[in-house]
């Protein structure tokens, strides 16, 4: 048995060695913390427990039962659902549209706009929040000023519970387009010209080329962008954290912000850990569903 194992090991040791650093980092910084968080989620750990582990007591499924009765958590769950439903398709469609438009030419104008569209995704979120805070300002914001040209009354962009959610989505969309656009652009440039030439000979119009060649061949990029965007939006955090702190009336509270508030502001680590496990399960389920419904790879 032992010898068998040693033999097996000897045969495969080089691949193991090559993946060892990556596996080691993954275990130390991801797997172990996840396991610890799972354990913590069944305890009443708080600041007192953190300072002295002997004060920690197991509470079974109590945290999980309580969290599903917590109106703020349910609200956060609902909000996150809205963020995902509205945000993900918007990001995918807008990023793809921008990439298609930028792919039409290679002159300096197109190159400049690539930079312009990419800029938001590398800008610090706090700086973004300050500027957008002014844009959204109810009394002297640019958006309300622009609305006033058309005689539309001033809006409370971040104070109105319904509007605030969409204000944050707009901000996140603006920020997310850049990175995803790059992925689409790279995929677009990987489509061989010959397909288009063949289609042209057959008399295909621009729309038909887009519909039957470009979009299907972008399917892998679309899949990748959808999954990463979906996970990103389920973990929606920075925008509500810096812009609204989850208010007004918890209308912009996301699951990740709820977990942060409970964990780091109120020091209810056990409770927050149970919240993060709910989030973990949601993300896993969403990803499994994505893989399941994914259509077969298109190749010509």
């Amino acid at each position: 048995m032992m010898r068998e194992f040693a033999k097996q090991w000897n045969k495969n040791k080089y691949p193991y060695m090559f993946i060892a650093p990556a596996v080691l980092l993954l275990v130390v910084f991801s797997i172990i913390p996840i396991v610890i968080a799972l354990v913590i989620s069944f305890t009443n750990m708080d600041l007192v427990g953190l300072a002295d582990y002997s004060n920690i007591r197991g509470v079974g499924f109590d945290n999980y039962i309580r969290i599903f009765k917590d109106p703020v958590f349910l609200k956060a769950l609902f909000n996150t659902f809205i963020y995902v439903i509205v945000g993900v398709p918007l990001v995918v469609i807008c990023a793809m549209a921008v990439a298609l438009l930028l792919n039409y030419g290679t002159s300096w104008l197109f190159k400049t706009f690539r930079v312009i569209y990419y800029m938001p995704s590398i800008t610090n979120i706090v700086a973004v929040a300050v500027v957008w805070g002014y844009l959204y300002n109810g009394s002297y914001g640019l958006f309300n000023y622009m609305l006033s040209w058309f005689g539309i009354p001033a809006q409370q962009w971040l104070q109105d519970p319904t509007l605030a959610k969409f204000s944050l989505i707009l901000l996140a969309l603006w920020k997310a387009i850049g990175l995803n656009m790059i992925i689409f652009l790279a995929a677009l440039q990987g489509i061989p010209r010959s397909y288009y030439e063949a289609a042209e000979i057959d008399g295909a119009t621009g729309w038909k080329k887009l519909r039957y060649i470009t979009v299907p061949l972008l399917s892998f990029a679309t899949f990748f962008v959808t999954i990463t965007t979906l996970i990103g939006w389920i973990q929606f955090f920075e925008e509500p954290f810096v812009m609204t702190k989850g208010g007004p009336l918890n209308a912009t509270m996301s699951l990740a912000l709820f977990i942060y508030n409970n964990g780091f502001k109120l020091s209810n680590f056990g409770y927050a850990a149970s919240g993060s496990f709910v989030l973990f399960v949601i993300i896993i389920l969403a990803t499994i569903v994505q893989f399941a419904v994914r259509k077969k790879e298109v190749e010509y």
């Binding site: 650093p21 080691l24 002295d52 109810g138």
Partner: protein, 413 residues
């Protein structure tokens, strides 16, 4: 070939272990050797405290004070990490509302033995309210460092126009003055801002109405008629549009245009208004809060504590004693405009200024937020119920009953 692979493997592993070692660099060099390093964490910016620590270093050769300035926003997270790793500073500046939480976790050393040794640390040197902020469970865990309280800023010219040149003295006058200011100013004008995101706003008005919303036995009274009355009083400002319901109106700018002629805030706003609104110099001032049964305000600020995991407690106590000297307290006022907690410091010339003096007067009737570790959690609920009432349109009594049940549940845990 084989040797070479091993060499690369080894080099890679070494590189990673270096990276990992870099992450967990330990700072346990304090406490050993003759030249001591005292690690001190301050909130805010370091240029306000380094002049004072320099003074300390000059007076105590061989001691090096290592100041780390932490922005207030991230300070709480940073302190949590320090407790978790049991590795932190020797002296730490604690926001007064954090003291109970960290004291309950045993992160702050009991200062009783040091108070005997250093007379500077004795309670009678400081404002009563400030001393209470450093107490937890009968122990002294924090020495007052600076204090702040909330008072009323108002545009004296605009208030004089509506008949209150001295500012409103009572709740009724505050209401009437606001109504008159709005009537006079027209659209886009308000009487006063009510900072609904500040956990202490509702508390101040409740205290003024004579209700102790968490009593000595730790029982909440948020649904008491007096608390409800205080909330309804604040709510009426929203209902009558005497206060802006949005929170993004810039107070400093609105104070200048006179669209918000009154607001309640702390001493730090004096310098801000002076710097940003020089146009209205001489047209505004500060006074104590309008009274109902009393005109109590909330005391806040920061205390200095010794981190329980420090190996340098004696040196840390000596440093805190130095920081409680009149000289250090005045220096800190000079560098940061934070009001000294030390009573004798107030004899200084600098505090004759009428605006500062108004804060000095308000400090005499100021009390700290409830000194219980659950307060921060309860305060979040207080803020959200207040929002439910003023923006969400919930019924005050129903909402307060809910709040009271929630507070009971939190306190019972």
């Amino acid at each position: 070939m084989k040797k070479k692979t091993w060499g690369i493997m080894f080099a890679t592993l070494m590189a990673f272990s270096l990276v990992l070692a870099g992450c967990g660099s330990n700072n346990s060099n304090s406490g050993s050797g003759s030249s001591k390093t005292l690690k001190v964490w301050f909130m805010g910016t370091s240029d306000t405290v380094t002049p004072i620590t320099k003074m300390y270093e000059e007076q105590n050769p061989g001691v090096k004070v290592e100041v780390q300035a932490i922005p207030w926003d991230s300070a709480h997270d940073k302190l949590l990490t320090a407790v978790a790793s049991q590795n932190g500073p020797d002296v730490v500046q604690m926001g007064t509302t954090w003291v109970p939480e960290f004291a309950a976790a045993g992160a702050l050393a009991d200062l009783a033995p040091y108070i005997e040794k250093y007379p500077n640390l004795k309670a009678e040197n400081f404002y009563d309210g400030a001393v209470q902020t450093g107490q937890y469970d009968g122990k002294t865990v924090g020495i007052p460092w600076y204090v702040e309280t909330r008072a009323l800023f108002y545009r004296s010219d605009l208030l004089a126009d509506v008949g209150y040149p001295e500012g409103p003295k009572t709740w009724d006058e505050l209401k009437a003055a606001s109504q008159k200011l709005v009537a006079k100013g027209g659209a886009g004008h308000y009487g006063i801002t009510i900072d609904s995101k500040d956990q202490i706003t509702a508390a101040i008005f409740a205290w003024q109405n004579g209700i102790d919303f968490i009593d000595d036995q730790g029982q909440p009274h948020f649904n008491d008629p007096k608390y409800v009355e205080a909330i309804n009083y604040l709510k009426s400002f929203y209902d009558e549009k005497l206060t802006p319901s949005g929170t993004d109106l810039d107070t400093v700018a609105a104070f200048k245009d006179g669209t918000i002629p009154m607001f309640i805030s702390g001493p730090w706003m004096i310098q801000t208004i002076k710097d940003k609104d020089p146009e209205i110099d001489g047209k505004w001032t500060v006074t104590t809060l309008p009274a109902k049964e009393n005109n109590q305000s909330a005391i806040g600020g920061a205390d200095l504590s010794i981190f329980n995991y420090s190996k340098n407690k004696d040196e840390a106590a000596k440093f805190i004693s130095f920081m409680s000297d009149k000289e250090a307290q005045l220096k800190y006022y000079e560098t940061s405009n934070s009001l000294p907690a030390l009573k004798t410091a107030w004899d200084d010339q600098a505090f004759q200024d009428p605006m500062i003096a108004a804060f000095g007067k308000q400090l005499e009737t100021s009390r700290p937020a409830p000194q219980i570790k659950e307060w921060e959690t309860i305060a979040q609920s207080v803020i959200s119920s207040f929002e439910q009432i003023t923006i969400g349109g919930a019924d005050t009594q129903t909402e307060m009953n809910k709040l009271n049940d929630k507070a009971k549940e939190i306190l019972a845990k």
